[in-house]
């Protein structure tokens, strides 16, 4: 279901990633070594895990701005449960369940009550973060088991690969498989391309969307656990603003905000690119703020570029145009 222009979009992002790596090497000697690569991988893991689910969601035509707060609430729950005396493993499960619940709640509001996902997840963004504060107050949980922290931060012995990357690779593989090779992935695309036609084709639209929100919540929960282990702390003010970076990465990776278009490869390449750029800029002495400008610019490019290519394409073969409700273009077809 990919339009041709977005097929080459993937290649574009991959190219961008390579260019970013080259640029990074040029900017600093400390860039192109395995230790730094390891650092970059660890840095992007939480973003990437959530981006996997967000890809599905945006392709289906919805959005979830509460993911960072869900990540944080899962993290806070984990800390809270552990501090309350639960074994750490159980606390992890608790954190994951919290993430899943947050996603289900979002999904319920959107599918059963029919509320717009943009507005609703702005609200749950506040609600979930607020619950984190309510759980932990201003007392973060900093005493976590050594074993788990070492997994969160450490690498596979003898390699530069962080443990968390293994998790990411597995999840990414599963996500790729589902999105591009199963009927659930096809359904996701169909719903994003034309919700009404999807319904008429016997696709269970509401159920699918609910599942996608639930998955997003669960992945945010996973990211929350990873985050907690990496920073060895559960606190209510972690991961503020992450959602914007995640969405920026997904959109830059070729997923159209209108839905129905995108690939997982593109998103992964985009997430990696952002991590690489961040690292390159930091090592070259730029402030972390430059990353903001870069992310914002990439976001803008990711929407401007398709318009330009589409404009060129329609000039080349004007004729039957598709009526795209989301961009409100005229039908010209008689």
């Amino acid at each position: 279901m990919m339009r041709r222009v977005n097929f080459s979009w993937d290649k574009g992002v991959a190219l961008f990633l390579i260019l970013a790596v080259v640029l990074g090497s040029l900017l600093s000697d400390n860039f192109a070594n395995v230790s730094n690569l390891s650092f970059v991988l660890r840095d992007v893991t939480e973003f990437a895990i959530i981006a996997l689910a967000m890809t599905f969601l945006i392709i289906s035509g919805e959005i979830d701005l509460s993911v960072a707060s869900t990540l944080n609430l899962s993290s806070a729950s984990l800390g809270f449960l552990y501090r309350a005396g639960l074994p750490f493993e159980m606390a992890i499960v608790g954190g994951l369940l919290v993430g899943l619940t947050c996603g289900l709640f979002n999904g319920y509001l959107v599918t059963k009550l029919g509320l717009p996902s943009l507005a609703v997840t702005i609200a749950t963004l506040a609600l979930y973060r607020g619950l984190s504060y309510a759980l932990l107050g201003n007392k973060p949980v900093n005493e976590l088991p050594e074993f788990w922290i070492s997994i969160g931060y450490g690498r596979i012995p003898g390699t530069f690969i962080p443990w968390s990357t293994i998790l990411l690779v597995v999840l990414a593989g599963v996500a790729w498989f589902i999105l591009h090779n199963t009927r659930y992935g096809r359904w996701t695309f169909a719903i994003g391309i034309n919700k009404e036609a999807a319904q008429f084709s016997g696709i269970p639209v509401q159920r699918t969307k609910l599942m996608l929100f639930a998955m997003t919540g669960l992945m945010s929960g996973v990211a929350g656990v990873v985050y907690t282990l990496r920073f060895a702390s559960a606190s209510p003010d972690g991961a503020v603003g992450y959602e914007l970076s995640i969405i920026a990465a997904v959109l830059f990776g070729g997923v159209s905000i209108a839905g129905g278009v995108g690939t997982l490869w593109g998103v992964l390449a985009a997430v990696l690119s952002l991590g690489v750029i961040r690292s390159a800029l930091q090592l070259a002495g730029f402030t972390a703020n430059s990353l903001l400008i870069v992310s914002g610019s990439l976001l803008l490019i990711s929407v401007i570029a398709p318009k330009i290519t589409e404009g060129l394409r329609t000039r080349a073969n004007a004729g039957s145009k598709v009526h795209n409700k989301k961009t409100n273009r005229e039908v010209e077809n008689e």
Partner: protein, 326 residues
């Protein structure tokens, strides 16, 4: 009679009632809440969000959104103080703030209106870019009380007739904007654009021009509001305005300015901002730990959105049977 009926049916009524309810409950539990000081606190705290919400209304009724206002107002509040301390005076700072606001609004407006890019993405990018430039410009400096122009400090500290000047500024803005949205033809087009974008084109409305102008207006308001923010806090730094846009949008939604566009008023947005602030204070007044405040805000917004949806679905729908007139 007609006017009264319209008042009762107004979208803003539930917000107003909710406000009365909140003030009532909190006031009963803690009389200090409805004292003059309590009221002043609310009005003082609400000014910034209320002003931004009024501006945001212009954008949301068109079925767009502007997420860059938080970064923008933070930047201009810093800019005003910075330029003043460098000798450009109050008016130099204000001119710069207005200029920046118009520029950002103009860029947003151009991308959305003429390149037809989705406003969510464009202004999200804008949020980033402006914050990034701001951070570089500020680079660890802060604006201290000494750097604030005296006029600005004055509006932050003083009251007219017992009401904080900051709030009065917002009140004047909402009165003027309310009038414009109701009585100026070009402003009515904004509602049409949000209500049915395709029909707006067919009806001969210059859609692109209107969309562009609305973004510029919103940007200008946010830019100038930097003075209000500076006056309120008597300080500014690279974190000023962080995450403010979400509160602003929440205020609009709570106030009946639907995300779907086409309806709502600046008065509603204004009331929504007051309601959110009142709840924040009420939570404190009721003895609930501050930590629950954000959660409450979130839950409240969900309720507001759900109620708004309920209201919009309770209309007479087309029927095949029995819809003929006698």
């Amino acid at each position: 009679m007609n006017a009264l009926r319209n008042l009762v049916k107004a979208r803003e009524l539930p917000v107003f009632l909710a406000l009365v309810l909140v003030v009532g409950i909190a006031g009963i539990a803690n009389p200090g809440f409805i004292s003059a000081t309590g009221a002043r606190d609310i009005l003082l705290g609400v000014a910034i969000v209320a002003i931004l919400a009024v501006g945001q209304t212009f954008v949301i009724v068109m079925r767009h959104i502007d997420l860059s206002v938080g970064s923008l107002i933070g930047f201009t509040s810093f800019l005003i103080g910075d330029l003043y301390s460098q000798g450009y005076g109050l008016w130099g700072g204000l001119a710069a703030a207005l200029g920046v606001g118009m520029l950002v609004g103009g860029i947003n407006g151009f991308l959305v209106a003429y390149l037809r890019l989705p406003s969510l993405v464009v202004t999200l990018g804008g949020l980033y870019v402006v914050r990034g430039i701001f951070n570089d410009y500020a680079f660890g400096r802060t604006i201290t009380a000494a750097m604030v122009p005296p006029e600005v400090a004055w509006i932050g500290l003083n009251r007219l007739g017992g009401i904080p000047v900051l709030f009065l500024i917002g009140l004047v803005l909402v009165i003027v904007s309310g009038f414009i949205m109701r009585r100026v033809r070009a402003a009515r087009d904004l509602y049409a654009i949000g209500s049915n974008p395709a029909a707006a084109e067919l009806a001969g409305i210059p859609v692109a021009r209107r969309v562009f102008t609305a973004f510029v207006i919103n940007g200008s308001i946010a830019g100038l509001a930097g003075a209000v923010m500076l006056g309120r806090f008597n300080a500014a730094n690279a974190n000023s305005g962080l995450a403010l846009e979400l509160v602003v949008i929440a205020a609009c939604v709570v106030g009946g300015v639907t995300i779907a566009g086409g309806s709502g008023s600046v008065w509603g947005a204004f009331l929504g901002a007051i309601l959110l602030q009142a709840i924040t204070r009420a939570i404190g007044a009721l003895g609930i730990p501050q930590f629950w405040q954000q959660a409450f805000n979130g839950a409240l917004i969900i309720l507001a959105i759900a109620f708004d949806k309920y209201l919009s679905t309770r209309v007479k729908t087309t029927t095949i049977m029995g819809s003929d007139d006698a």
